[in-house]
Point group: C2
Chain length 166, copies 2
Amino acid sequence: MTKDNSTSLIITPDQLLEHWQGHRSLTRRVIEAFPDDKLFTHSIGGMRPFSELALEMIKMASPGISGIASGKWEEFGDFSGDDISLEVNTKEELLKLWDWSTEQINKIWSSIPEGRFQEKDVAFGQWEGQTWWHMFYFIDNEIHHRGQGYVYLRSLGIEPPFFWER
Amino acid sequence: MTKDNSTSLIITPDQLLEHWQGHRSLTRRVIEAFPDDKLFTHSIGGMRPFSELALEMIKMASPGISGIASGKWEEFGDFSGDDISLEVNTKEELLKLWDWSTEQINKIWSSIPEGRFQEKDVAFGQWEGQTWWHMFYFIDNEIHHRGQGYVYLRSLGIEPPFFWER
């Protein structure tokens, strides 16, 4: 491990938001690529169907960025003041929830205080670390599960969207 | 999209290296979790076996970080001065190559010039963008394919390592 403690700029907050929303746009297209029923039923090796993986991302995304911004870590139900529910039964409802989440993230992002990403906090009262780590965890977890969605799609004979298209 | 062009620090180079190597340590454990033969043969939906996905990561990792550090983008064969080959036929050989790659990354990392991650470059003569984007692509691509390895393992009845353990 290098001993260099440089604070050389790697990525700005604007770039990180764009990077994340680029990933989220790709995940949205993966949701769309599933046949309506398979989205809620198809599974390999006892794993959760892709709808549930997408709901995990949604439960993490806007409540998570809200926690980073405010220091208040609330579950989805407590977090949302809007008339929005995690009870989705169709692809259309899931996509609507996804888009709601997208807007929430964009809205909350600009309220993240300067220097906040280097502060320590306990995400959702459970995971201790600097908030950049939590932020990357939200993104990485999405990439991880979306990669699994790619296998689901391939196993159904469906070509997933290109990974590099955001 | 927020119009905030703040350069508020998100992650330092040291933290990014540790983050990446944490991911790479997890991927190493995923390689290890495969039965020797299945690593090279098991596939779902016509996808590549996990050994080939891991080799893609290896071909991207040290040559990629070398390109970011030096501006010279060389393929694995040209890049490596060492007596090291991508021709691997056993899990042990693959892990040896993985560990070689880990050392290379650590060695090259500290030579990345200040401010380099915000510079534009054409990665491997093909992908134009700021080098932070290329860097994240290397990591994200690994997470993406490793997530696929999780499905392979589950379909073989094998429990993968915890995603959050790095």
